[in-house]
Subunit: 189 residues, 2 copies
C-alpha cells in the first residue's frame, strides 16, 4: 500500500483524508502465471496497481497472431483504461507472465468520489495526462527507431526482463518475427 501511495504522490499529492477514503477501496488480488487481468472484448470494471510480477498487454489479430502492446512491471497501473473510460469492450488483453500481486479498485467506486473530492479528480486528470504523454513518447520511438534500436531500448527500460520472458514476446513487442529478433541479437554479438 505504501508503494501505491508513493506512486500517486508523484502524480499529485492528495490530502491525507482523501487518501483515507480512497485506500479502503483497494483490494488485494493474486494472479497466477497465465491468468488474464482483462480479456479482449470484455468491458473493464476495475484497474489495479501492480505490486509484484510481470503483465503483458497485447492485441490479437484474429488468428493466433498477437502484437505485444506493453509489458508492465512492479509499480505500474494495469487495466483496460480505455474500456473503463468508454464503457466499451477492451481492444486488448492483459495476461500475467509471472505470478502477480496487485491492488485492484472498482472504477465506478472511484468515479463516485470525484464530486466530493476535487483533489482526487485533479489526480485523475493528471494521471490521464501523464498516461497520454508516455503513450505519445512511446509512439514517437516506434515510428522513429528501427527494431535494432528499439531492442536496445527494451533492454534498458526493462532490465532483467529479457531473462524471464520468452523471446517471441519480445519480438512481438518490437513488431518483428522471432526469426528477425534472433538475427538482430546475432548481429549484436
Amino acid at each position: 500500500m505504501t508503494e501505491l501511495k508513493k506512486f500517486l504522490d508523484l502524480i499529485y499529492p492528495i490530502h491525507e483524508n482523501t487518501w483515507g477514503i480512497l485506500k479502503v477501496l483497494f483490494k488485494d488480488e493474486r494472479l497466477k502465471k497465465g491468468d488474464f487481468f482483462i480479456h479482449e472484448g470484455e468491458i473493464a470494471t476495475r484497474f489495479a496497481f501492480l505490486q509484484d510480477g510481470v503483465v503483458r498487454a497485447f492485441y490479437t489479430n484474429g488468428e493466433g497472431k498477437d502484437y505485444t502492446k506493453h509489458f508492465f512491471t512492479a509499480g505500474s497501473i494495469i487495466g483496460g483504461y480505455s474500456s473503463l473510460i468508454t464503457g466499451k469492450p477492451s481492444l486488448f488483453s492483459q495476461q500475467a507472465l509471472t505470478n502477480c500481486k496487485v491492488l485492484s479498485i472498482n472504477y465506478n467506486q472511484l468515479l463516485s468520489l470525484y464530486d466530493a473530492y476535487p483533489d482526487l479528480e485533479r489526480l485523475a486528470r493528471k494521471f490521464a495526462e501523464n498516461y497520454f504523454v508516455s503513450n505519445e513518447a512511446k509512439e514517437a520511438k516506434i515510428v522513429l527507431n528501427n527494431a535494432d534500436v528499439r531492442y536496445l531500448e527494451f533492454r534498458n527500460i526493462y532490465p532483467g526482463l529479457e531473462q524471464i520472458i520468452p523471446q517471441y514476446h519480445i519480438a512481438s513487442y518490437l513488431g518483428v518475427s522471432p526469426t528477425q529478433l534472433s538475427r538482430i541479437r546475432k548481429k549484436m554479438t
Copy 2:
C-alpha cells in the same frame, strides 16, 4: 465560437458562467498554408480549436524524412498537448496544409482557472481521457491492419482530403513509401 462551445459540450458541459470566463481567453488566429502552429523542439504555450483548414502533425527523422502522425480538420483541437503538460520540447511539428482559422488559448491562463472552476477541471480530465482513448484506438488500427486497409480507412475518416493534399503525405501517414502507396492505389482500381 459556437462550434467550439458545441465541441466542448460533447465532452463535458460546463456551467454558463464558467464558459463566460473561459471564452474571453480564446483569440482569433490565422495560419497561412505552410505556417507552423508548433515546431518540433519548441515548448508549447498554447493550443487551439481548428475552425477551418487542414493541419498535419509529423515527426522528423533527423534527415528530411518525416512521419505523419495525424491530420487535423475543422473541429479538432491542435497543439503540442504533451509539451503543454510536461513543459518539455515538443516531439513533433504541426503545419498548416491549407490556410487555417483557429481560436487559440494560452495554456497557463487555462490552468489558472482549474482551482476556482472544478467543472473546468472535469472538462480537462475528460478531454485528456478521450484524447487518450482515441490515440489508443488508433494505435490498435496501426498495429492490426496493413497499409491497404489503413488507406481505405484514411479515405473514410477524411473524406475529400485525398484530393486536397499531396499523396506523399498520405503515404507517410500510412507508414509506407509514396511508391508503395501508388502500388496500393493501382491494385484497388
